[in-house]
């Protein structure tokens, strides 16, 4: 294999890793939008919160596996609180209110992070068991990055099974489709909203914990990735679970390949792609159904 092909393969794999993290964030963003019609501007802040909680939990327990359990749980509890106390009174009102609230929640979470953890960049090393690299037959690749891909794929399958094979998932899909009819069958849709919002932001928190050893941890780290996640949701099709995963990988690869040839254009290329893509397919890859 030539050096160029090895470099290309490595970059494609890096794109895949970043794409899967984007997909994990976009999954929650997309399900929340599909069910609750909320464009959750605070989603990136939950991702940031996940990264910082990971740092603290790692410092306390010194065990990465504990981090992977505690972080989504903590962020989920924050999500339950935000949904049931702050968002619920706004249901049925002008969508601008929930949009503004989510913007306020984003600013609030970032300020709390600044107060608690400070404004400086924070290092976060992968655990010893996942450090180093493995030879894949044509290139050496980071064990931790492979682990992140495995985790993201596993979580995507888990969420898919939850949506497709359980009565909770069935109720969520029905409520996305016909919310009032679900209520008319005696089901408390508010409780479904709380669960979905909690799980959605919990996934963002977990993505933050997984990304912490790969990307810089700082209070505003969620802002850039939020914008990229919105691009993923739009390309994948608003509210589409499958679309979030496929579009996440596409966006990750576009950024990785652009970085290879023209690094300055890596972020711009994604928006150019989105604009051209939407001209030909305005509903995104998979329309609006979950």
């Amino acid at each position: 294999m030539t050096d160029f092909l090895i470099l290309l393969a490595g970059q494609l794999m890096n794109g895949f890793v970043f794409g899967m993290i984007l997909a994990l964030i976009a999954m929650g963003l997309s399900i929340i939008f599909g069910l609750m019609d909320i464009i959750n501007f605070a989603h990136g802040a939950y991702y940031t919160l996940g990264a910082y909680v990971a740092i603290s939990v790692m410092g306390f327990f010194d065990n990465f596996w504990v981090v992977l359990i505690v972080v989504p749980a903590v962020v989920m509890v924050v999500g339950f609180f935000v949904e049931s106390v702050l968002l619920r009174p706004l249901y049925g009102k002008d969508p601008v209110f929930s949009l503004l609230l989510s913007f306020g929640v984003m600013l609030g979470i970032v300020q709390v992070i600044r107060l608690v953890w400070g404004v400086a960049y924070r290092p976060f090393s992968p655990p010893d068991a996942l450090s180093g690299s493995v030879y894949l037959g044509f290139l050496h690749f980071s064990v931790y990055r492979l682990f992140v891909v495995g985790m993201c794929i596993g979580l995507a399958i888990l969420v898919w099974l939850l949506l497709k094979k359980t009565s909770v998932g069935m109720t969520v899909r029905a409520a996305v489709d016909k919310r009032d009819m679900v209520k008319a069958l005696g089901i408390n849709v508010s409780a479904v909203f709380t669960v979905v919002f909690g799980v959605g932001v919990g996934l963002a928190g977990l993505a933050g914990a997984l990304a912490a050893p790969l990307l810089a941890v700082y209070p505003e780290m969620g802002i850039q990735i939020l914008v990229e996640s919105f691009v993923v949701v739009v390309i994948g099709g608003m509210g589409s679970f499958k679309g979030s995963i496929v579009a996440g990988i596409i966006v990750g690869e576009i950024m990785a390949l652009t970085t290879l040839w023209y690094p300055e254009m890596s972020h711009v290329a994604v928006y150019v792609f989105m604009a051209v893509f939407l001209l030909t397919r305005p509903k995104g890859l998979f329309g609006s159904a979950i």
């Binding site: 009565s167 069935m170 109720t171 899909r173 029905a174 996305v176 489709d177 016909k178 009032d180 009819m181 679900v182 209520k183 008319a184 069958l185 005696g186 089901i187 408390n188 849709v189 159904a289 979950i290």
Partner: protein, 227 residues
């Protein structure tokens, strides 16, 4: 069993119901007749609190349900089949029926499939692939599965072929032996065949109440429903 007293309701600034009162007794089929846009569907939605009543009282099985959460009203045994059927398009027929079992205290899927045996052959099909008649059957079967004590149906015969409409009338006749029905219907013949009592709704209020025979004798159809 169901009493509606002097309810007013509106969509935003637009008032739709102006003091509607009606009653559905046990073992009774009550039909609401009226031209398009007079508020018939809004009456059912207001009973379910899908449209919030501005004032008035709604009682079901002796309990006040005015303004209660829709899911709590449904759990008390009030079944609702909306005008546009509201089939869960991405769920299979079986899952549509299962959705009615999630919160039901006395689910009755078998009974529903006895009324509509054709649904047994469609259980694995997605809601969006069904014909209009099949969707209507599924919508009613779903409400039966929920084990309702009173069924409210909003224009169930709308858009159905005459043969299917006849089948539907037979099913509703059988259903009426099991539970009271509040039916919104445009089809006059179906109303006359099924109803014990008829309310004619005009401009958001009740213009006539009586039996089908009284309605024919009073020329109410010519007075309120003819263009």
């Amino acid at each position: 069993m169901l009493q509606v007293e002097d309810i007013h309701a509106s969509y935003g600034a637009g008032a739709v119901l102006f003091g509607v009162s009606l009653e559905v007794k046990k073992d009774e089929v009550v039909c609401l007749l009226g031209r398009n846009g007079v508020g018939k569907s809004t009456i059912l939605k207001t009973i379910m609190n899908l449209v919030t009543p501005g004032s008035g009282h709604i009682r079901f099985k002796g309990e006040e349900i005015t303004g209660k959460r829709t899911d709590k009203i449904a759990k008390r045994g009030l079944g609702y089949v909306p005008e546009d059927r509201d089939i869960f398009s991405t769920l299979t027929v079986l899952d549509n029926l299962k959705m009615a079992e999630v919160a039901s205290k006395k689910p009755n899927r078998e009974k529903a499939l006895e009324y509509f045996p054709i649904l047994r052959t469609l259980l694995d099909q997605e809601g969006e692939s069904l014909s209009g008649g099949e969707q209507q059957m599924l919508a009613i079967a779903r409400a039966v599965t929920a084990g309702s004590d009173l069924m409210m149906l909003d224009e169930p015969s709308e858009g159905l072929a005459p043969v299917i409409r006849e089948d539907l009338k037979e099913v509703l006749t059988e259903l009426a032996k099991e539970m009271p029905i509040l039916l919104v219907e445009q089809n006059l013949q179906m109303t006359l065949d099924l109803a014990n009592r008829i309310y004619i709704i005009v401009n958001g209020g009740v213009a006539f109440v009586g039996t089908p025979q009284e309605m024919e004798e009073s020329k109410a159809v010519e007075k309120y429903l003819m263009l």
